[in-house]
Symmetry: C2
Subunit: 151 residues, 2 copies
């Protein structure tokens, strides 16, 4: 049996605070891998903030980015009580997090061990009507011009 992990214990504490506040009980702690210091911690706040994106993982990435003045956090490890959803899995990748530790698996809505073309999955609980290709040429040109200028 693995020993107690202090970061996950803290994440669990945060998740309990979330539950007490009527939020989905997920807690997350972001740790500087070199020093072992906690850079940011959070629990879900979707209800309080009226913000569908206010998952614990997104909140710690946002707070840590502001604290360290860097959108990319390659020297940080993330501890979270639940398998991240596809939104958070992607955000964790964008932030270049080194290690992801999670507690419970989420077969219903997880985006790490589960999920696929997002709106087509059983883990997706709402699919908007989708209309791709509106003003496609103009929109594509923007991207081409931008990255052309960058090279």
């Amino acid at each position: 049996m693995q020993g107690e992990n202090k970061y996950m214990m803290r994440a669990i504490e945060l998740a309990r605070l979330a539950a007490a506040a009527g939020e989905i009980p997920v807690g997350a702690v972001l740790v500087d891998a070199a020093s072992g210091d906690i850079v940011a911690e959070a629990h879900n706040l979707t209800e309080r903030d009226h913000d569908a994106t206010a998952h614990a993982e997104v909140l710690v990435l946002r707070a840590a980015g502001a604290a360290l003045q860097a959108a990319r956090l390659p020297d940080c490890d993330l501890y979270v009580t639940l398998e991240p959803c596809p939104m958070c899995a992607a955000a964790i990748s964008f932030a270049r997090i080194r290690r992801l530790y999670f507690g419970a698996y989420d077969p219903k809505s997880g985006g790490v061990e589960n999920a696929a073309p997002f709106y087509a999955q059983p883990t997706c609980h709402h699919r908007p009507d989708v209309y791709g290709g509106l003003h496609e040429q103009d929109c594509a040109q923007l991207m081409k011009d931008f990255f052309k200028d960058k090279r």
Copy 2:
């Protein structure tokens, strides 16, 4: 050929502002479907905000949630210049957006027509080391207790 869509034209304008500011040129506009009013608009701000989650779509959902005091926005339609990434695709679903209109397809990183178990995809450009099942029982119990109490 389809006529000019004023919301997408505005999104394109926002994307141009993003490019001028050195941000990835993606613009998004969230519209109240009944009134046709623009509820929120944004362009990417990942550079300025040092926030890997500050994509245009996440920013409009966040702003609209705060403005309307609701995390779910089922009466709103979203116009965005680029096919949303998996993070944004999931956020759009969580917010229960009615219709998603997008401009350019993004075969490299899109999460609407593309993508699958996120970290396993060619569209994923960074996969953190993943350690699932840390304090799994405690973490799973939190979720069970929370939803048990809700029923």
